[in-house]
Amino acid sequence: MTATIEAQTPPRTYPTQAHRPRRNRANVWLTLLLVLASVFTIVPFVAVLVLAVSPESAPTIPRQLPDDVTLDNLTAVLSASSFLRWTLNSVLYSVVSVVIILLTAAMAGYAFARKRFPGSTALMWSFLATLMVPIQATLIPMFVLVSRLDGVNTFWGLIVPTLANSQAVFLMRQFIRELPDELFDAAKIDGAGEWTVFWRLVLPLTKPVLATLGIFVFLWHWNDFLWPLVIAQTDEMRTLTVGLSTLNAESVARARIMASAAISVVPCLIIFGVLQRYLVNSVATTGLKG
């Protein structure tokens, strides 16, 4: 949104005639450097794409551009049963996590923001304190716990331990606290029960922040690696990231690996394409970090 505003308003300072050429030259340099930086970020994506459509074992980049373009690699990957299975697992892992985290974090955030109950402050702080413990530091006890509960190679073992998300709770609490008190008073006077207030008032009013949070939670889970790596030990439980790393470790043809990588990144690119402004603006305002 900031970007649109900036695009519409004229530049704040009007350079005098004498300054203009120098300013323009400076701007050309700035643009050139930004183009260079963008080449650094974009070239790997282009390379994946070129390799994914290059015929197997035919000469390709960096020596030359491929003579032929083929979709064989992509179709072969898409018709391989394990790849589809990994994709399905990643979808389940991400989507189920998004739904449950949004719901439970909104509930907890609502309670922390609007309800007084014994120990609520201490509880909020203890939730936040877990942010200081890197997930890797508790990897071993988490794994032992889940394996003792027979959760290895199961969906619940994959999903449930990743749902305790303090960033989500804290963000929801901050947002719900800012909502005007009058709304809640009015609902109470109208005789709305607690559940009605939550479903009819809190959830609709927090839609923008739920959307932002949803995008981030989806990306975290879609791109997550270490937890799925230790929990999904059979081929059919692997997520896309884990599956890709095994393809990379086995000597699968390069074109095939690149085609898999290209397909795996598509959902993220779609999210990025559609919600770019949203995503980019929310980094600074919400402070969510993967």
Binding site: I42, F45, P62, V144, V230, N248, M258
Partner: protein
């Protein structure tokens, strides 16, 4: 009247009694998740580090044996050194790239949102995908060496050379994938610098360079420290790219702390020892963020 008062009393009593119950009820699902999957494992890590827990689930209490073993283990100090060296390369690199691009974005007249999008794009991918594509970029017949060949320069062993080169190559991948986040934080920080201070400096004849070093950097200091903290913590947790690209090699040149934890846990199934590495990892990260916090607070006053 008595009836009325009784009704009011009952209502207010119910109101008060109802609130704590509902508050707890709304927190309950998340609370259960936190207790089981955050609090218990956090304490469990410390508990397990005092045992010789094995894959079978059998264990006995061994006191501080694991810690003694850790501090006599050359591999541990090696992996700690690897992680420190990696962070020493990665954090400044990330900061320079993020600050550089943020400054460029802040000053460029046209196309700001397009460039911002292009630079942020890698952030939405996974480290696994980044690792796979950069492995090829670094290979002897990969993108960079292919281009160098055309210039007649021999292949550079990015992932097979000496330790500094391997760690730097891995750091570049991390920076590629995630500098966009820090960049956006810094762009927001730059926007908050009051325009009139910059204008006043301009009128006083300060050039772009001295404006950058004497106005932008000092005013941006809190934001820069925040970026340093998150980048340092991220650098200490590096695992995915190492696992995908080097497997800790060559000859353990990239065998960092988290990789050691994974290796001890899931290759040797020495869970007690691996948990000990986890506790130490936590302490190291905690210590570093305390130091950074302290420096930041001192800067403020």
């Amino acid at each position: 009247m008595t009836v009325q008062r009784a009704a009011v009393q009952r209502a207010s009593w119910r109101q008060r009694a109802r609130d704590p119950g509902w508050g707890l009820l709304f927190v309950l699902p998340m609370l259960v998740l936190f207790v089981i999957f955050r609090f218990v494992p956090s304490l469990g890590a410390v508990g397990m580090s005092l045992t010789d827990y094995r894959l079978s689930g059998d264990f006995s209490f061994v006191g501080a044996d694991n810690y003694v073993r850790l501090f006599e283990d050359d591999l541990f100090f090696h992996s700690l050194r690897v992680t420190l060296l990696y962070a020493a390369i990665c954090v400044p690199l990330a900061l320079v790239v993020a600050l550089g691009t943020a400054t460029l974005l802040h000053h460029v007249v046209r196309g700001q949102s397009v460039f911002r999008g292009l630079l942020f794009l890698p952030y939405v991918t996974s480290f696994v995908m980044a690792g796979i594509i950069w492995t090829w970029i670094y290979e002897s017949d990969g993108l960079i060496n292919g281009l160098l060949e055309k210039l007649g320069v021999g292949p550079v062993p990015f992932l097979t050379g000496n330790q500094a080169m391997v760690l730097a190559s891995l750091a570049v991948v991390s920076v590629w994938k995630s500098f966009g986040y820090s960049m956006l934080i810094l762009v927001a920080g730059l926007k908050n610098i009051p325009e009139d201070i910059v204008e006043a400096a301009k009128l006083d004849g300060a050039g772009p360079c001295s404006r950058f070093w004497r106005i932008t950097i000092p005013l941006l200091r809190p934001v820069i420290f925040f970026v340093l903290v998150i980048e340092t913590i991220a650098a200490f947790q590096v695992f995915d790219t190492i696992y995908v690209m080097t497997g800790g090699g060559p000859a353990r040149a990239s065998y960092g702390l988290v990789y050691m934890l994974y290796d001890q846990g899931f290759k040797f199934f020495d869970f007690g020892y691996a948990a000990t590495v986890g506790v130490v990892l936590f302490l190291v990260v905690f210590l570093i963020s305390l130091v950074q916090r302290y420096v930041l607070d001192r800067e403020k006053t």
